[in-house]
Symmetry: C2
Subunit: 214 residues, 2 copies
Amino acid sequence: MSALGESPVLPARRGYHHGHLREALIGATKTLLAEKGPQGFTLADAARLAGVSPAAPYRHFADRGALLLAVAREGFAAFAKRLEASGREAASPIDAFREMGRAYLAFAREEPGLYAAMFSARLPDAAPLAEGEAAFSVLVGAILNLLTRMGAVTGDPRDLALQIWSLSHGIATLSASGRLGDDCADAEDVLASGVEALVAASLARNAKIEPRGL
Amino acid sequence: MSALGESPVLPARRGYHHGHLREALIGATKTLLAEKGPQGFTLADAARLAGVSPAAPYRHFADRGALLLAVAREGFAAFAKRLEASGREAASPIDAFREMGRAYLAFAREEPGLYAAMFSARLPDAAPLAEGEAAFSVLVGAILNLLTRMGAVTGDPRDLALQIWSLSHGIATLSASGRLGDDCADAEDVLASGVEALVAASLARNAKIEPRGL
DNA sequence: TGTACATCAGTGAACGCGCGTTCACTGATGTAC
DNA sequence: TGTACATCAGTGAACGCGCGTTCACTGATGTAC
C-alpha cells in the first residue's frame, strides 16, 4: 500500500542491484505460466514482473529459451521431490503408490502452465533433461519397491514404468484440456484402477505368479 | 516450373476469385502445423501459402482461432475415420484392436502438429468438440465389440475407454516430445501390452470371469 | 440473348502492438594497496 | 582506514520484425427482367 507499488510477489530489491534476479525471473516465469498458460509467457513480461528492465534478463540467461529451460529444470526437480514425498507416510507400498498417482495429478492440476512447459516439445539442446530423467527414476524406484515387496523376482520395471507414466501423463493432459470432465476424483479413479491393472499384468507376466492381495 | 511459381501445394487459382479458399486455408494450416509445429502457425503464413492477401481469410473465418478450430474439427474427423478403418481387415477383434492402437500412434507420429493442435488447450467456445467426441466413441465402440466377443456381459466400457485413450495419448505425446526414445516399435509394444492389461483387468472386474485367450 | 445491378470474394495498404534482442551507458560492489 | 580502479549488474532507448486485424476498394459472379 506504499506510494509506488513494488511488485507484491517478490521482495523489494535492494537499490540498483537486484541481488537475486536470476531466481526472481524464474519465479516470475512460473507465475506467468500459471496465469496465462504455456503460450502466454514472454521475456518482457517476466522482466516486468521482476521489476526490471527488459534487457536485464540477458545478464543471466542467453535468451528466452534458456530461461524457459531453467524453469523446466526447476519444475522437474520440484515434481520429483513431490512424488518422492507423497508416499512416505503410507501404510503399505500399494497405498504409497496410489498416493504417488494422486500427487502426480495434483501437481499437473495445480501448475498446468508449468507442467505443460516441462513437457512441451523438444527443448533447445535436444538432449533429454536430466531433471526429467530423475523424476522418471523416482517412479521407477517406487515401482521396483512395489514389485519386490509383492514377491516378484523380475529385474527391469522399465516397461511398466513407461506404461504408468504414459497413463498418468495422458490423464493429466486430457484432463487439462477439458476432455475428461472436470471432476478430478474421476481422473484419480481412472488412474488408480489403471495402474492396478498394469501392475497386476506385469506381475503375472514376469514372475509367473498369481497376483494376489492387490 | 513455370515462370512465376504458384504454390505447388494447391491447384492454381482461377482468376481473381480463388474458388476454394476455405478448404485451401485449412490445407495450408495443416501444412504449416506439420512443418513448424503447433506454435509456428500464423494466419498471415496460411494466407501466404494459399496465395492470397492477409485479409482474405476474414471472408471465411471470424479470426485466427476460428480457422484453427476448423482445422481441429477436420483433424478429428480424419482421425476417427482412420481409427475406424484400421481394424477392418483384421482376423480377430483382438487383432483389430491392436491395429487400432497402431493407427492411433501412427496418426500422432505422422501429423504431430495437427495432433497437438487438436488436443491443445481449451478451444474458443469451451464446449467439447463434437468431432472429438465422435473419435472417442469409435474407440468406445471397438471396446464394446471386443468385450462382448469375449463374453463379458457388462454394459459401460467408458472407464476402460478413458484408460485406453489416456494411455494412447500419453504415449503419443511423450513420444513426440522425445521422452520415450525414438523407436516407434517400442511405443507400439508399450501400448499393446498396456491395453492388454487394462482389458484383462476390466474383464476380470466386470464379468467376474477368468480372462482367457487374451 | 443481352444488359443492369446487387452481391460476393478478393486486394493492398495501413494500423497499433508487443515482441526478442542489442547497444552504449551508469550506478553499485568489492578488492588491492 | 581510505582511496583508486576493475568488474559486475543493472538502465533505458532503440532496432527491426511480423503479427492479427481493419478499411475502403475493386474485380468477378450470377440473377432478374
